[in-house]
């Protein structure tokens, strides 16, 4: 017995030691500073909007960024607006964010180290997780009462519904908030009219088509109406050799986006005028039946219900797909890694060929109310720093998607001219109903059942979806 006790003790203490080396999450570095300066963190006077607007060249390239040598003040690049730090602010905040690309972690770490030059005594705990399973990570932290201070997510209505958030304008200076393009910022406004979330990146969906396959199939211009789309897709699919006409990703990943494009193309919608989810409205059912026509008509890739957007992109990149609806990140990948694929971008087709169905998505920054003033202060300082022109521009570029501030968009249009069609589409995009409190239920139901259209009728599929939304309500 003695021996086993000793062993237990040894193991436990060794484990403890290692765990301690790994660092505990609690506490944080609370080294108090003797400085008596106590300027409020919110006084970051830089006005990102105006500075970015005034000179786009100033913020580009490798000019000195907001992270100067040390101390509590750092000049912020060419904009000339100083960011004031505060060594007195001593607390710790935590950030939870998804991984857009494998550089995401270091992109965030760059922001944090710059921020820590201004606020040396705020410990920032960063957690980056894969998109897959991200919702569960958030859920666990909420259930464990361990709310992150800052969350980057594609949903906010649920957090609003549960009263967990600060209005984002409480934790962003007016200047910072106004740097965000108003039409995009509006997407973060709840149904109660309050600004709960701030977009951090945006993306628009546009059709991309393989010009070589179009040529081979004798299609001269990209299709505008569904009838043209069907005919062209069939022509391309007839080329054989494993080539498919239209890529229809109805798998888990993005069934909600693909489905939205179709119902909008038929002038349908997910939400009625009173804000109620009406998935199985006649216009939506007709749109789903049209999708079925494509599936049965040998115009799309095999097993669309089980195909994710990435898989469709893989087909396209290998020259085996005529066209699909894409976003900037995927197009950039194609351009970079598959130079043999020649392609053009075109508007998303609709039933009558004139309905605008450009779809926009934004992801959001939300701030959880942890009932702690210094954390709130540190959060506000962080977001102001994060959205300062150089810092934000660099971070947004790392995601491969589109930025949301006026300044960064201007810069982006210059530095990535190939994304021009996406930028052009952005002002007119229609957003998924992300502010609707039931949106996530609809999204889940679409992801779980949308692909059933391959084997069921439009009515059956959408009835199931509606039933799940109602039951989950």
């Amino acid at each position: 017995m003695k021996r086993s006790a000793v062993l237990t003790g040894l193991t436990l203490s060794a484990g403890l030691l290692l765990a301690a080396c790994g660092g505990s999450s609690s506490g944080g570095s609370s080294t108090s500073s003797s400085s008596s300066v106590s300027s409020p963190a919110s006084s970051a006077e830089s006005s990102p909007a105006s500075s970015a607007g005034s000179s786009s060249a100033a913020t580009s390239g490798g000019s000195s960024s907001g992270t100067s040598s040390s101390g509590s003040t750092a000049g912020s690049g060419g904009s000339g607006a100083p960011m004031t730090g505060d060594a007195n602010l001593s607390t710790s905040i935590s950030i939870l964010a998804p991984s857009y690309a494998d550089s995401s972690k270091s992109d965030w770490e760059t922001i944090i180290s710059g921020y820590n030059k201004l606020y040396p005594n705020v410990k920032v705990n960063l957690q980056i997780e894969a998109w897959d399973g991200f919702t569960d990570k958030v859920q666990t932290r909420i259930q464990g009462n361990d709310l992150p201070d800052i969350l980057n997510d594609n949903n906010y209505a649920d957090y609003v519904k549960n009263n967990l958030l600060y209005p984002i304008t409480d934790v962003m200076s007016p200047a910072t908030f106004s740097s965000i393009v108003p039409s995009l910022a509006a997407n973060g406004k709840g149904t109660d009219g309050k600004q709960w979330a701030a977009p951090d990146i945006a993306s628009a969906r546009i059709m991309v088509y393989n010009t070589q396959l179009f040529q081979q199939a004798g299609v001269s211009t990209p299709p505008k109406t569904w009838d043209e789309l069907l005919a062209d897709a069939q022509k391309i699919q007839k080329l054989g050799n494993g080539i498919s006409g239209y890529g229809m990703p109805l798998g888990k990943e993005e069934a909600q986006v693909e489905a939205s494009l179709w119902i909008w193309g038929n002038k349908g919608d997910w939400v009625d005028s009173s804000g109620k989810i009406t998935a199985n409205s006649p216009a939506n059912v007709a749109a789903f039946d049209e999708m079925k026509k494509f599936i049965d008509g040998a115009a799309v890739q095999p097993n669309p219900g089980a195909t994710n957007r990435q898989a469709v992109a893989d087909l396209f990149n290998q020259g085996k797909l005529g066209m699909y609806i894409t976003h900037p990140g995927l197009v950039a990948e194609t351009r970079k890694k598959f130079p043999n694929v020649k392609f053009e971008l075109a508007p998303v087709p609709s039933k009558d060929g004139t309905t605008n169905v450009s779809l926009g998505v934004t992801d959001f920054i939300v701030a959880f109310d942890n009932k702690d003033d210094s954390r709130k202060q540190a959060t506000k300082a962080f977001l102001d720093y994060m959205y300062s022109p150089e810092v934000y521009q660099k971070w947004a570029a790392g995601t491969g998607l589109l930025p949301v501030t006026e300044g960064a968009i201007k810069l982006g249009e210059q530095s990535t001219p190939e994304n021009k069609p996406f930028y052009d589409a952005l002002p007119n995009v229609k957003f998924l109903p992300q502010s609707n409190p039931n949106w996530s239920n609809l999204q889940n139901a679409l992801q779980a059942n949308g692909g059933e259209i391959a084997t069921k009728s439009g009515q059956e599929t959408l009835d199931d979806i509606q039933a799940q939304v109602d039951a989950a309500g």
């Binding site: 017995m1 779980a448 059942n449 949308g450």
Partner: protein
């Protein structure tokens, strides 16, 4: 090697004293279990009866409503899910145990390169289940999967097939992968058991004129019994609760045709929140408890002690 071996002094002692004498030996295990497992298990049951929003905020008592939702959520064919769970567990465990018996027998022989073969058998164990499933998922891809290509090149298939793109075939691929990853552990447990088969007894049996089949059934299997019993027990539990294989191989399919209760719990957790998924977990736990109780009553793996 059973009951006869109990020390008489233990019997003579009072029950309380016997328990007291046992405690120091069991204490480390008990402390670990009670210290770590009790709380989350209790919390799961508690959660099953609480109203919890999808994102994890508790709002009050739920009574049995979480259970009702879990079993009646629209578009979920719950009967089919339970049937799938049954088929999944039975097929995977039976196939695993039978194949493992054969494999262990083979690996027990002396032959050149035996060590290498044994190491090869261990690899699926060493690799994470998620990765193994992912490799199969990727290898079976209709468009760029190497396994698909090989099957076509060998003339087994006439054209590449989207194995993981419909519920039925994806489910059976998952069964295959589950057997594949369960084999190493089971095989090695049986192999370890084979080490205690004494040569003399087999010789004696042979002298008595018993053929190989009779010797295996009458002599080897009984000695392997404890090892097989425990390996089967662990397999039943693990297979019943297995999530990653089906999640990787059938996760992007629409509908619920390839779901077992475990994957449904996982889907519910995101779509309906922790309350409903805990409720289904409690049901799941009770089911496995019943299965194991039946198994223990029939097989009695602790009997020879």
């Amino acid at each position: 090697m059973a009951t006869a071996l109990h020390p008489p002094e233990v019997r003579r002692r009072g029950r309380g004293r016997a328990l007291l004498a046992a405690l120091p030996w069991l204490a480390p295990a008990l402390v670990l279990i009670i210290g770590v497992v009790l709380y989350p298990a209790g919390y799961m049951i508690y959660t099953a009866f609480r109203k919890i929003t999808k994102i994890g905020v508790e709002t009050g008592a739920a009574g049995w409503s979480n259970f009702r939702t879990a079993l009646t959520f629209p578009a979920v064919p719950i009967g089919k899910v339970f049937l799938n769970t049954f088929v999944w567990t039975v097929v995977v465990v039976v196939a695993t145990v039978l194949l493992s018996l054969a494999l262990a027998q083979f690996l027990d022989k002396t032959f050149r390169g035996r060590k290498l073969v044994r190491l090869a058998v261990v690899v699926p164990w060493a690799a994470s289940v998620v990765m193994t499933s992912t490799v199969f998922y990727y290898g079976l891809n209709r468009d760029y999967g190497l396994i698909n290509k090989a099957l076509v090149d060998l003339g087994i298939l006439s054209a590449p097939y989207g194995f993981t793109q419909n519920a039925t075939s994806a489910f059976w691929v998952a069964v295959f992968v589950a057997v594949f990853v369960s084999l190493p552990f089971t095989t090695y447990t049986v192999l370890a058991g084979l080490q205690s088969v004494p040569g003399e007894v087999l010789e004696a049996a042979q002298v008595d004129g018993a053929g190989p089949a009779v010797r295996y059934l009458r002599v080897v299997l009984p000695i392997l019994r404890p090892a097989i019993a425990v390996a089967t027990l662990i397999n039943i539990i693990n297979v019943f609760n297995s999530l990653p294989i089906l999640r990787v191989l059938t996760g992007s399919l629409p509908g619920y045709g390839a779901d077992i209760t475990t994957t449904l719990i996982f889907k519910y957790k995101t779509a309906l929140g922790p309350g409903v998924s805990s409720a289904l977990s409690v049901v799941n736990f009770l089911v496995v408890l019943v299965i194991i109780a039946i198994y223990l009553a029939v097989v009695r793996p602790t009997r020879e002690v």
